[in-house]
């Protein structure tokens, strides 16, 4: 089945938000919004679920904590007990205070890098991956709503077009996908 994708362009994020509200109230499913900056409050309007990045951050953090603990235990206690300032060095616990800053730093390092890489992967924006936004102007000062006719089968393409034109857009692009 052929799919028709419509890109409605706006020059103001508030107009876009009002337009999106109007469309959603009529049961139109908006598949994506492109914007040069995060639009405050757009997520609940177009029905985007809360991000799970926080959960991943926690897991990366825990991984970092464990790696740091295991690593330091091996380097500083098991493999060769390091004598630093005469501190007890035969068990990890005896010298635990000295290891806490490193554990903390490594936790943060893993959480931050893990989160950044996951974010880029999930959004398919790793370096070298072709850009997905429909119009380069959405990285400057324009805002775009994407609506697909396949996701809105209760309306015909013409009806969708009429509804979009009713929302104060400045430009409407259409694309057929086979």
């Amino acid at each position: 089945m052929s799919d028709k994708v419509m890109y409605a362009m706006y020059d103001d994020d508030e107009v876009l938000k009002d337009g999106a509200k109007k469309l959603v109230s009529k049961g139109v499913k908006i598949s994506e919004v492109f914007s040069p900056f995060p639009i405050h409050g757009i997520d609940p309007i177009i029905g985007i679920k809360n991000t799970r990045l926080g959960i991943m951050a926690f897991m990366y953090g825990i991984t970092g904590t464990m790696l740091a603990t295991l690593g330091m235990r091996y380097f500083m206690v098991v493999d060769w007990p390091m004598n630093i300032g005469g501190k007890p060095n035969f068990t990890y616990l005896d010298n635990m205070l000295a290891f806490i800053p490193i554990t903390f730093e490594f936790t943060v390092l893993c959480a931050a890098h893990g989160m950044a890489i996951t974010y880029l992967l999930r959004n398919k924006t790793l370096p070298g991956i072709p850009a997905q936004n429909p119009d380069p102007r959405t990285t400057d000062d324009k805002f775009v709503i994407e609506v697909r006719s396949s996701e809105n089968s209760q309306y015909t393409a013409d009806e969708l077009e009429a509804m979009l034109k009713d929302t104060g857009l400045i430009e409407l692009d259409q694309k057929e996908i086979k």
Binding site: H40, G41, G54, F58, G85, K87, L97, A98, I100, P101
Partner: protein
């Protein structure tokens, strides 16, 4: 909306005060003949005087911080902050009275540097280290500083409150920018005073020892306890149906502050502890030796509570929006921070003779009841939502 104290609240605060007074009396009679009675009584006065004074001061600092950063979200809980800050004059009175009594008793074994024998080369109590510090630590200069702190805090508090009420009447942005400038000025004073006042009132108890971090550590504990009080007061008002403009996001933000300041406190506690542990210099480790000898369980439990409770429980977003969880964690870490101040004062003054009995618990309840009553009373004095705050609209639509 105007706030009026419910009969329930009146009864509860009265019960707190009466129970506190009774327990204090019991404590007084059972410890009266004790050799350390005076020190113990004054140490308790100092603990509670400082702890509750610090809650008011923390709120004043928080208010000034919001003014200086021109924060919008807090506008609808601003009156709560002001009400807590309004305890400051009473806190000053209690703390001032205790400090005055201690001064007249030549330190009462709490501030040993106030004892003239310590700095008199002919006396056999002569202490070279204390004598060396006596240009800074002497009664006269101590009181000059104490009065300077009290004076500056009081002037700024009165100014903020006056302009806040005036803003309700006339509105406009002129008062806002004045508050902005005054807030920034207060922070400059506070940056110095928060450290030096902690040295004067708390660190000088362990007079041979010093730590440059001590002021921040005390300040972080005070800030964290203040945030807990702000959360609890807001939740209480919300529960009674006041503050209709305060939504989950405001509670979430206050919860975040509690979470963040807990970390700040733990970070500073640990920094101080680890550096001293690592360097292992005799003059420095005495501070922790005293605590580990006499307060081992209490001291590390206190740290564990103040660090682990907020970290593990308040980490998730949902927990910071849940009134029950916030109240539970808040009360626990409030007790934890009281214990922190308790050990700060007791370890250096009473040492092995310190114990938590009816006197200690009674005096906390007494001052806490009074503190709550003063806050509730302050809340009745102005509309709970500031009428003309320039950021009120932003605060009403606050969403995170």
């Amino acid at each position: 909306m105007e706030f009026s104290i419910s009969n329930n609240a009146k009864r509860l605060t009265l019960i707190l005060i009466v129970t506190g007074a009774l327990l204090t009396l019991i404590g007084l009679f059972t410890t009266m003949g004790d050799h350390h009675f005076k020190t113990r009584l004054l140490a308790n006065g100092l603990i509670n005087g400082f702890f509750f004074f610090a809650l008011g001061l923390g709120a004043l600092f928080f208010l000034a911080l919001q003014y200086a950063t021109e924060t919008g979200w807090y506008a609808s809980v601003k009156r709560v902050v002001e009400a807590v800050a309004g305890f400051l004059p009473f806190g000053m009175a209690i703390l001032g009275l205790v400090l005055l009594t201690i001064t007249f008793m030549d330190g009462a074994h709490i501030y040993s540097w106030m004892d003239p024998a310590m700095t008199d080369p002919k006396s056999h109590h002569y202490d070279e280290i204390i004598a060396g510090k006596s240009t800074y630590l002497n009664k006269m200069f101590f009181w000059v500083r104490t009065l300077a702190y009290f004076g500056v805090y009081f002037i700024f508090l009165r100014g903020f409150r006056m302009r806040s009420l005036e803003e309700d009447r006339i509105g406009g942005t002129e008062l806002h920018f004045k508050n902005y400038r005054k807030g920034a000025t207060f922070l400059v004073f506070f940056a110095v005073f928060s450290s030096t006042s902690a040295w004067d009132w708390l660190m000088s108890i362990d007079v041979h020892w010093f730590s440059t971090l001590f002021g921040w550590y005390t300040f972080a504990g005070m800030w964290c306890s203040t945030m807990v009080v702000l959360v609890l007061t807001t939740l209480y008002l919300k529960n009674l149906g006041y503050l209709p403009k305060v939504n989950e996001s405001h509670i979430h933000d206050l919860g975040k502050w509690t979470f963040a300041t807990s970390f700040l406190w733990s970070y500073l506690w640990f920094s101080q502890f680890m550096l001293i542990w690592y360097a292992n210099i005799g003059e420095e480790v005495t501070y922790y030796m005293m605590r580990i000898e006499n307060f081992k369980g209490l001291y590390f439990t206190m740290f564990f509570i103040n660090f682990a409770f907020p970290m593990l429980i308040l980490m998730s977003r949902d927990a910071k929006r849940n009134a029950g969880i916030l109240t539970f964690v808040g009360l626990v870490i409030l007790a934890g921070h009281w214990l922190d101040v308790y050990i700060m004062v007791s370890a250096g003054s009473l040492g092995a003779n310190a114990s938590i009995g009816p006197l200690e618990i009674g005096m906390v309840l007494l001052v806490a009841g009074f503190f709550i009553r003063v806050i509730l009373n302050n809340l009745t004095k102005a509309p709970l939502t500031p009428v003309n705050h320039p950021f009120l609209d932003e605060s009403v639509h606050h969403e995170i």
